[in-house]
Symmetry: C2
Subunit: 407 residues, 2 copies
Amino acid sequence: MALIVQKYGGTSVGSTERIQAVAEKVKKYHDAGNQVVVVVSAMSGETNRLIALAEEITPRPSAREMDVLLSTGEQVTIALLSMALHHLGVDARSYTGGQVHIRTDSAHSKARILDIDGERVKADLEAGRVVVVAGFQGTDENGNITTLGRGGSDTTAVAMAAALNADECQIFTDVDGVYTTDPRVEPKARKLDRITFEEMLELASSGSKVLQIRSVEFAGKYNVPLRVLSSFEEGEGTLITLEEEDVEKAKISGIAFSRDEAKLTIRGVPDHPGVAYQILGPIGEANIEVDMIVQNIGKDGTTDFTFTVHRNDLANALDILRRTADELGAREVEADDRIVKIALVGVGMRSHAAIASNMFKALAKEQINIQMISTSEIKVSVIVDEKYLELGVRTLHEAFGLDKIEA
Amino acid sequence: MALIVQKYGGTSVGSTERIQAVAEKVKKYHDAGNQVVVVVSAMSGETNRLIALAEEITPRPSAREMDVLLSTGEQVTIALLSMALHHLGVDARSYTGGQVHIRTDSAHSKARILDIDGERVKADLEAGRVVVVAGFQGTDENGNITTLGRGGSDTTAVAMAAALNADECQIFTDVDGVYTTDPRVEPKARKLDRITFEEMLELASSGSKVLQIRSVEFAGKYNVPLRVLSSFEEGEGTLITLEEEDVEKAKISGIAFSRDEAKLTIRGVPDHPGVAYQILGPIGEANIEVDMIVQNIGKDGTTDFTFTVHRNDLANALDILRRTADELGAREVEADDRIVKIALVGVGMRSHAAIASNMFKALAKEQINIQMISTSEIKVSVIVDEKYLELGVRTLHEAFGLDKIEA
């Protein structure tokens, strides 16, 4: 008998029929002798309906009241799913975030979970009940309703699994697992059976949108085995766990990419300590996130500085950078939004320095010019012209043998 | 500076425009220097939408989950109304029933309020905020969400007013006050400026549907001055309070009536102690409420027994009564659903026995035959043929001078 936490997103519970289908899936796990906690999102469309109501009232609704409003979305789903389970003869009980003491900080609309008291849930599980919990929400220390922000239901599920010391946290989505790369770009892409938390994090931060980054971090931190699988098809999905034993064999898990990148360059900046802060400080203050950063020191006492931001932030970042350039007496500022990021991810990279050079060699062979490089322990990212996206991904997929079944 | 609790029902908050109109009304009271707590219902139509979702899932949803589902309706309204108040520059904060500790028993869908902790609300009021509370809901001692049943928002408002020791509880509805009788039956009906709790209770239980009985009982018990007034028009409405000083002047407040009655008669029952229980016991066990009861003891050692029930319960009650008649060896059973109840209500009745006889005289003058009579301290009810409803009401309205302004 295992204790499983399952999470079903908005599309999976998007209609009363789909809620009934989820109930049957849950019943199957429950009938097999497992203790099951189910975390659900609002029915798809519901959150937008509520936002539209708020916008009819005021252009700038308070974050606190927005959380009171939006948290009703999941509350509707938990009630309906519990009813559907009862209809199938499964004893079930629903709880809002506050009711199972999902304590968060007070950052309305983007709160972080501080603590979960699993006692009430455990008592229901012991009594043979399925427990249905509203995702995406909690309450702060004063009992105010908070929401965790987009994708927050994944985080609720993982946090709940950690609090209950669950055997597995299963995230049901509209894909059947994590792939070596996007099958729409490389048809030979292969579903992975297993992947480590770190790899999943790097894949997610490089554009693979299967899971929210925060939920993967959380799962890694508390060592909660995480499984991604399809709401609509049968299958084992992909299991995300701590590092495996046999990573020595230069394992590459996948290739992530992102089209949402833009590159900014400031050239001929008089170089002195603190110049990086002077350039990036104002960008950060404008709440623009910077991804890759490269600095080249020139021979004439000046430096060139290049960084990437989300494409939506480019215009704003460019304005700020131009002002900074004036202040610092820099020579010129350039912007380029016709670039993409491609990243090779795998824990095997740690012990095999050759991987990065093999990557560069494979790209060079196809005449793909690399504009920026950034490396982490288990990832090598490159920025290339956007026209090379598909070719680059397929070249690397082939070069690292990702289409072949793992040994 | 007064502390006022206001309640707005589903029609009053039926659209975002109407919510904005309520916000303006609330702002007016707040700007005038009052501390204001607002209790709201779900937007009209919302409860039915949620019920329809549940019915798509299962024909018999659990009462606990139904409460989880339906309580989202008021939660949406409190958030939207708070936003609308913010938009007008009024500081406001919303709370669900659970958040302001509206403790109820565990009778899902028809829970009773046990206790309210007003401390949190008071702190907000002291800070100059308007407090917006979800009506119709609370939580039981285990934190389960409960609802108070239909009309429960009135009860929330009164209970909140009692807990806060409010100066007045204002119930905003679609009528502008309590009338001497239904203006659709007697165009000369006059709005009352004041009425006592007891009179209001008798009017409500005799078919006048302005307020829920339970909320009037609650207000009377805790002596919370209650005012009924219109959401849509200006006006002072009707104030409902404890008995006034000058009741000696034979005051009649109004005439209530009900078309929902049916009469059952069992004749020739061998009379012995306990026969009333033998007849009414099985009716009560079937959860059928009995209103008026008349027993006539005959000369031949048998008794005739007549009582009224809600018209919807007639068929069921008749089945039961026929079985009882067989068991008791009664002569016959009769049913009549072409009857109505007309009731004269007023605290002045206590000290003026003549009122009942004046009532009977006025009806006799119009050839209206009285089938049953029942009296309480402040009410005289009669059952008459339904064809006399309008004539009977108008006759009594005129006979007791209800169209004339109070001295």
